[in-house]
Amino acid sequence: MGIRFTSKSQAWLWAVVLLAFPLVLQSFGNAWVRIADMSLLYVMLALGLNVVVGYAGLLDLGYVAFFALGAYLYGLLASPHLLETFPALMAWFPNGLHLSLWAVLPMAAVLAAFFGALLGAPTLKLRGDYLAIVTLGFGEIIRVFMNNLDQPINITNGPKGLGPIDAVSVLGHPLSKRLDLGFIELPSVTLYYYLFLALVLVSIFVCHRMERSRIGRAWMAIREDEVAARAMGIHTRDLKLLAFAMGASFGGVAGAMFAAFQGFISPESFSLMESVMIVAMVVLGGLGHLPGVILGAVLLAALPEVLRLVAAPLQQLTGGRFDPAILRQLLIALAMIGIMLWRPRGLWPSPEHGQSSPGQRAP
């Protein structure tokens, strides 16, 4: 992980906590584990966006598009919809297209990476606000496509959404069914927790390694000063495209997982608000710093759900005049403003080397 373990025992402690966590949660109800599952998906999204925004400094406000692409790819390949639209395909796949997870994961990553580069290519000369506007448009374009591609040929089933989507099977066991281990029963949500946790750990590993590499340094150089980076011989075009593609591939994988987990997807899940939330996770947590990004994602994904618990009693206190949904949004907004006021560089920013100036001159 991005956190430097001071000892092996600390790493073991983390492993035990992360593995036991859903077992404790599930005793309070599966809804809690579900929140943990969604948080893990958001962590993956935030990690992917962090490659683009945190490392390469390219503000992407349409990141949810890649999440949507992954989700629809899995949705189409693992639901009866595609064969209903194209009966001709039925002859080839009489039992329906039910692609396995291991086939879909790389496909989702590659498709999203391709679209990431496609978005990157025309925006190479844009920076900051201008780039944000173009990427925002891209995110909406994808969503609008999903919403309207039910005519003339029904590909995405439009606003009605796609379903039922097959659950993921691991080692022959579909994760939608509970697993009885004899001494303990693991419900579907807990099984998904472990799958998502594994994917998140892989994502963290990849990000961590990239951060401390020649390519990671070049990304950060582009973020800091593009002109200087180019003058040092860095081919900024290729590296920006790589950042877009790599960041997008995380989103694509998370999307495919989301589709399998929910069993149903519709364009509604991929609104601009989602993109904004993912950007907020990265920025609030600590731009470019993995532990911060993870913390931001977990907090912002779980906070709205946890606040339900707070909102309900408050509503009763005020005699039902407060709408809990609005109250929740208000509390989240206050939390975000608070963080930006007291921790402007994020909750857990990268450590400040040499905060105090090291003095006037070298010896």
Binding site: R209, R214, A228, Q355, P358, A362, P363
Partner: protein
């Protein structure tokens, strides 16, 4: 005549109605500190930006280390072997001093995504070599102890040194300094002069664009003077100082 590191002929560049450069020649030999001076608006910076690929020239032949190069893209020029510093220092502020120099090794190294993720033996060897060279360069310019500090926390003079170390890290044939003494006090200027002297003594070649005539005259082996986009003089500092055209360009023709 010794071997030319940079040899450009007939460089022309026009911005709309302004002929910023016309037919400028420049020949720099190995181990020289070469000065490029001229009054404000003479075309120094334009020339600098042309040879480093920031502006596309309208005409001219460009040779670097005996081979022709096309100054069409900044990163290609850097790869070909011209490293530059900036008039207003442009460091990677949020990266450490060491990382700043390591970044500049980018074009001389080749590790890709695969190597980075799996930490292959080749990747690790390359990283270790990059870090070692970067540390050595920081020590070379005299800021070795500041390696773990973020670039923005260094003092002004040290930021200049860091920029020079970063430029040296690209293994350049020619290192081009754009007004390095700008904003420096007298002590800092003396130290800068010592550093450039040291770089020359290591058989490296330096192109110096500078306003500070005293620094240029004291340091450079040869000097070219630009005025109104044209070369008006070329020679040793002593020759330049006596050149009537140069005196006229700097002081104007007195009212007769």
């Amino acid at each position: 005549m010794s071997e030319a590191v940079l040899n450009v002929r007939g460089v022309g560049k026009r911005f709309g109605g302004l002929q910023a450069l016309s037919g400028v020649d420049l020949r720099i030999e190995r181990g020289q500190v070469y000065g490029l001076i001229g009054p404000n608006g003479a075309g120094k910076t334009t020339f600098f930006n042309v040879i480093t690929g920031l502006y596309t020239p309208d005409s001219g032949q460009f040779e670097l280390g005996g081979q022709t190069y096309e100054p069409t893209a900044v990163h290609k020029v850097a790869q070909a072997g011209i490293a530059r510093t900036f008039q207003n220092i442009r460091l990677f502020a949020e990266m450490t001093a060491l990382e700043n120099v390591m970044v500049a090794r980018h074009c001389r190294t080749s590790a890709g995504v695969w190597g980075a993720i799996w930490r292959t033996a080749r990747f690790r060897a390359e990283e270790a070599d990059t870090a070692a060279r970067a540390q050595a360069l920081l020590e070379y310019v005299g800021i070795g102890t500041y390696a773990p500090y973020k670039a923005r926390t260094l003092s002004y003079g040290d930021q200049r040194r860091l920029e020079i170390a970063r430029a040296l890290a690209t293994d350049p044939l020619l290192i081009a300094l754009d007004e390095p003494a700008a904003g420096m006090n007298a002590t800092e200027k003396l130290e800068l002069r010592a550093l450039i002297d040291k770089i020359r003594n290591d058989q490296r070649t330096v192109l110096l664009i500078e306003h500070d005539v005293k620094l240029v005259m004291g340091l450079c082996d040869r000097v070219t003077v630009l005025d109104h986009g044209q070369r008006i003089a070329e020679g040793t500092p002593a020759q330049i100082q006596r050149d009537p055209l140069v005196i006229e360009a700097y002081l104007g023709t007195g009212a007769h």
